[in-house]
Subunit: 162 residues, 2 copies
DNA sequence: TATTGTTATACTCTATAACTATA
DNA sequence: TATAGTTATAGAGTATAACAATA
């Protein structure tokens, strides 16, 4: 039996959940960014596109809140996507302080391809484990995360990067 | 059956593995940092302490490499731990370019308490799921991470933050 | 000539404060 | 008076470059 003072036990990174979560996250993010790079976007851009593809016309502030970032951060992100012709901004006729942000036609095409690439990246990430374990992983993580943000699920709340 | 073009399906963050991993990681890191704060250290400091508690006398560079950070980053981290009396530096007699970094007596006490706090934080993080699911989560993450860094396990390679 | 620790600097990412135009 | 978008600025975090001491 190892006691609490056994140095070796404490030093094995692969027993530390924080290490495992951090590195799993980093690896998936790297795979996702690499898969999306040919489309000219990264995982964070893809998160914004997912919000914009949701259907309802959306203001910048709403997108920022969904992504859990400051509204000032949203400006540069949308600037870049607009320069690339992926999104378009137009004033909201009902409240001219607001910008309505929408996917362009090209943006819809980019998003459709990005979803395929994103799914491929997830698939490669999960290739090391069998499908049952992957499904169980998703369920477990969901339980852990939803406990942390109770009542936040699908609707509002911060959205993912990739 | 939802088709690939169903907007709602794409918009649910809790179906996206990247979202789940990122937020699980953030929540655990927050719990860990909060648990360690009374000891005057954070999760990253704890990662360094775990390396230093490993037994062998260690140079700054070795610690930095284990943690996967630049050696210049290590300086400020150790400066802070040294100011707190948790670690001590002394020249390596065999190679005076090197600093041997060791836990002080107080550092060993801090580390012992930190391990307890850290385990408590992991326990609270995992409280939402049953022990079998927690064990399965660890196994699955290990498989995913070890595939990413083959041949790196226990020995060398970057070590965790918390 | 290479390596360790150090310092100074730059870069990334993000948040805070202040300005404008609208409400 | 408050809000949406914008801009400028500052802070955390980390990496790169250059330097002194040592090998």
């Amino acid at each position: 039996m190892a006691t609490v003072s056994t140095p070796a036990a404490a030093a094995d990174p692969h027993d530390v959940l924080g290490y495992l979560l951090k590195h799993a996250n980093q690896r998936l993010a790297a795979l996702t960014d690499a898969a999306l790079a040919p489309l000219g976007i990264d995982g964070k851009d893809f998160g914004a596109l997912r919000v914009l593809a949701g259907g309802e016309p959306t203001s910048q502030l709403q997108v920022a809140q969904r992504l859990g970032v400051d509204r000032t951060t949203m400006v540069a992100l949308l600037d870049a996507l607009e320069r690339k012709g992926i999104v378009a901004r137009r004033p909201d006729p009902a409240d001219r302080r607001r910008n309505i942000v929408e996917l362009t036609e090209q943006g819809h095409e980019t998003f459709a391809r990005a979803r395929v690439e994103h799914a491929g990246a997830e698939g490669r990430f999960l290739a090391a484990i069998d499908p049952d374990a992957a499904a169980q992983l998703r369920r477990t993580l969901r339980a852990l995360v939803e406990r942390a943000e109770p009542g936040t699920p699908p609707g509002p709340g911060p959205a993912p990067r990739g």
